[in-house]
Point group: D2
Chain length 375, copies 4
């Protein structure tokens, strides 16, 4: 059906480990999702020319480039994918948006709420995506489905955590992720941002919060750990904890939800599983169900392998991209986009503000969602 | 209500570790079960006088004795509880039965099927009990309830295992449990007997089997490990494995059952839990439920503590005794009794025969259940 | 050894479900702990005479009484055990202390910090105990041992939670536990108090905290849920969450600890297990160990049953009492006592204050520990 | 490095679900493994022309064909990959071997031992591979590494199971997998073959065995379930159970190993985990470690993603192919190859023979490994 297949030319800015996951998704998406697009890996842009060439050869990028400003201005580019340190998200996104490109951007969207709002305003007229890829873990998407079906009922508690041990070795911490100028924050932007995006996805927006943060290693200028108490707009209580000092956890991104009709639990280290307690079961049979979310009836189970055949980390990127492209084809909205990421950024900024002032911070509709009047 | 409470005078033969569990049950049963009996711990019988006295003082036995033949003949004894090495079960039980005593006996009932049949015949007119205590793990009793309610449907597979590491240290093995003359067998009588009793309880009798056994330590005259393949009378397939060389397992007594409408799983090392998969659930919600079997609606949950408050090893003895005494009061049958234990012994004997001849052995109705014409 | 055994006459005030667990412990302690005391269950005191008599008969209390003031003044009483609603703890304890009795008191110790301080001051010259029984879960005591041995190193995060679903049914909530006058608070005193005692036990005192609380059911005058962020004196970050709206959890009292050399995890619903991650293992073998804390080498494993043979809820009371009596015999201090409970009460009061004022509260050495100058 | 990259032209026979997993591996292998080959997906061969073309378009096969005999004879083909029902493995493999092609073949290799031996003899001079892909689950490869390092010591028990519920719906069973002529057997070839290959890989060859099999649905001419007892050459006892009636299990392929120095456990439904008990740990710390086998130090962890980032089903095919190609480049042997699969086939045939004759069957060195004198 070549007549119905549109070519999409992609430029990716960045060639680090996350760029590897993106490249893989570009390669794999058409194998698992029916999409009327052919993705051309046109150009990958980075700084180290020899590493860049090896990367391009490995992942099939047709060209390499070292000047992103040129790249995002090229006429033959349809999509700009931003996979660089956080401080570069805004300049690249703004330039690419001006050039009318579709935008894919790594998380967190920006260094600040104001920056995020500016980016979202600039991107208003282009299709865009933020790589909060964990929404597309099948088990997480299934949790969302159960909630939307009303199987949980009124929410009482939403608890999120994200622990890894990346910061616990004091001899490390020399990468951009530990420099405020490039990363904006530490565990907050790196880990908590995922938790907040997932919380908003599953449980809606946050009305107010109080937070604390801490840096265990003297001299580091970003936070190593953060704790947040919150009230959601839906009346439930929230707690969040994220840390790079979770010794023993490698990618411990999880949540629990307690609600009137049941409860849910998820942990990324066992990402094919969802725990679901259904309080409408016969009392003696009520228990956590340990659901293997690989079908039948589960999100993405018809895209990937047969029931009982697991998916992994990379499939979250593939599914994000697959949904985006299917939505694009149908002219439907895609989430999470820049506007969604503004909401998350508003929470992150409130977390920082609260942690610095040691007080509660309200999130108004304005700082949550309204960026319409910004320049 | 002293008028309705009958005194039961108990003699316990044995003062080892299992006698400790029995003594505890005698003390505790009235605290958790409504029974119209008052248990008098009259006399404990053993060989080592000084240890015996300490045991009697600790557990409140009124007297000590060293000659079991005198004890079981005493007029003032109502119940004889046999908690000694296997080889002594038969002589004590036969003498006590002749004296008209109620009989409680440790498992396995006997050294051989013939001996077990003789014991059951002798005990026909006295109330009796065999301490296959794991039937009364609440989670196991709940499994039975689910099966009896038809929630599992036609059975396909019943898989049992019992692993501990008791035999793996070659410097040990000096106790009676490693001497054929006193124990009759090794893992077969010690561990497999529990699995077989539980299998018959949950899945019915075995029609035929093939077995292998093995002794890892040269010179030991009992089996260290045994494996059995079987067909149950109900048409399901059975597999059993028991070993004292299960390094890392302390009390790994478990089963799995797969059936038309669901499946079950249990492990004694997490004894307050039952796994139950209900194939009648909505397909996308089908999963192992990890049921905490402490109520509401669970066996023994009104006897012991509140939901979420766990029970332990000793409660299986208390519940066995509680049920026995309640059945006694009502004139109802109690299981597992000597006749039940004969069925288990028939399986154990078939296992030994099969393992020695390397062939399949059929269990006829006769050797399974019929001991009526034996002397 | 009758000459070395001292009689201890006990009066228990209360005959509800917790009094049942206490009675059981009084009965069982000598079966599992070597103690030079004989406990006489002298008198149980309650309000409903007919229920009280049944209770006394069942648990072997020699007498019943309905006036606790008379009881605590009796010359023939050595120990007063307080197992009544919270509001009565103080008057009974103060009267019993004046009468020179040993004091056992249910948790939380008091309705307020001031009351707790007064009680601790009054009890200064009598041996005393507070039933924070979960310190004596073998797995919790083993966690403490690992920490004390230096196997965890510098603490980074201590996370506690206690969820049950006791409050989620709006038609319930008519018991004293939902009335501020009798209970003092809701989830805070009922659940969080256990978490705080355990946290202080394992990770030391709290320096400052910020809290929120919430009541889901309109009209209830106690909190249904509470969340706390904290800094411990040792520099680690703390988070606590307790709720009666944890639908699906029956007794979900757990903690996680992340530290420089490893991490720990515990949940009361699987109380025989401790998760321990040892970062000093070979990197490829580092993982959560799922330790079955039943011996060998584990706390209380020589008191109760053999390795692999589980203990349950009631053993935490038995072990608390066993340790108390052994410490008494040796003239050693026992913990947790009233002074320990004052520290916990100080935290609870700070939690309430913070939640009402929406700010951070510092816990000074004074309000943590100093009650010496109080009337 | 185009000069060092050799082109490998691949023909795949088959276009069903397993052909999908193979195609994916061909696409992905170079992204994760350094290999001096460029794989050209030259031709895919199937029967249904329209489905075939869609398949080819989706997975990038340059051509389609419907006559495999022509395909395997083509000069421009280097590798023939056999992904068709079992009955076609031999004719295709023999023809392709005659044509000097490298051979990749789905499991089980053949319908019978004799056929497998003939295939292995024919393939003696061509590089070959059998898709027993589960050897390359990182956790399984890590188990092998631990065993080879001597961390387990003398093996006592090797227990394998493979349960799914594919056969339990009586309205299904119309595919080739349920027809003896095309599949050769049921659960034996489909499921048990994986368990046997993995057992030989981890624990060595089997010396003797006794088996039973069963067909639950009348009229089916293949087995639905099989149980095997075995002795391994290394002296350990083996048990195997495989069934298509494991209601609730989707892909429950697991093993447990008990040995002198520890034990291991694995289940494919949690494929990123390995349980390892190290009996050389301090006694009180001995426990199952729940290892997340994603690095550091774990097999394939440098190939795929970062520690804590999971892999899935497809990665087992990618790793199999990656290892094959790296071995090919170095001139090193690859396993499992046709000779390895003959050993597995010998076990499967012994299982069938034993189950039909109801007796023990010895596996001689000849039928295990010796196919040298066959035509």
């Amino acid at each position: 059906m070549p007549d119905t297949t549109k070519q999409l030319n992609i430029a990716m800015i960045g060639s680090g480990s996350i760029a590897r996951a993106h490249s893989n998704a570009f390669h794999q998406v058409a194998h698992f999702f029916e999409i009327p697009y052919s993705l051309n890996l046109k150009v990958v842009c980075g700084r180290n020319q020899s590493k860049l060439e090896a990367f391009a050869r490995l992942w099939g990028w047709a060209e390499t480039a070292t000047d992103w400003e040129n790249v995002v201005a090229r006429k033959d580019i349809d999509v700009v994918d931003i996979a660089v340190p956080n401080a570069l998200h805004a300049p690249i996104a703004l330039a690419a948006a001006r050039a009318g490109k579709m935008l894919f951007c790594e998380k967190p969207l920006a260094l600040s709420l104001a920056e995020a709002q500016t980016m979202a305003a600039a991107a208003r007229d282009v299709r865009n995506l933020v790589w909060f890829n964990y929404r597309r873990v099948p088990a997480v998407a299934f949790a969302k489905q159960l909630i939307d079906e009303g199987r949980l009922g009124q929410a009482y508690h939403y608890r999120a955590y994200y622990f890894n041990q990346s910061g616990a070795d004091p001899t490390k911490g020399q990468t951009w992720r530990y420099r405020r100028g490039e990363a904006g924050s530490g565990a907050i932007g790196d880990l908590l941002s995922h938790s907040v995006d997932m919380a908003i996805y599953l449980n809606g927006e946050i009305a107010e919060l109080s937070a604390m943060k801490h840096t265990f290693i003297p001299g580091r200028d970003v936070d190593d750990a953060v704790i947040v108490m919150a009230r959601f707009v839906n009346g439930s209580l929230g707690s969040f904890e994220a840390s790079r000092f979770g010794v023993g956890r490698r990618n411990g991104n999880g949540f629990e939800m307690y609600a009137a009709k049941g409860s849910l639990g998820f942990d990324l280290e066992d990402m094919n599983r969802l725990r679901f307690y259904d309080a409408s079961d016969l009392a003696s049979l009520q228990a956590d169900r340990n659901i293997l979310v690989t079908g039948p009836g589960h999100p993405y189970s018809t895209n990937f392998w047969k029931p009982g055949h697991l998916v992994g980390y990379e499939h979250t990127f593939i599914a994000t991209l697959g949904d985006f492209l299917q939505n694009l084809a149908k002219g439907e909205p895609f989430h999470p986009n820049f506007e969604d990421a503004v909401k998350t950024q508003a929470v992150l900024e409130a977390v920082e503000a609260s942690a610095e002032a040691n007080n509660w911070v309200k999130l108004t509709a304005r700082n949550r969602t309204d960026f319409g009047n910004l320049p």
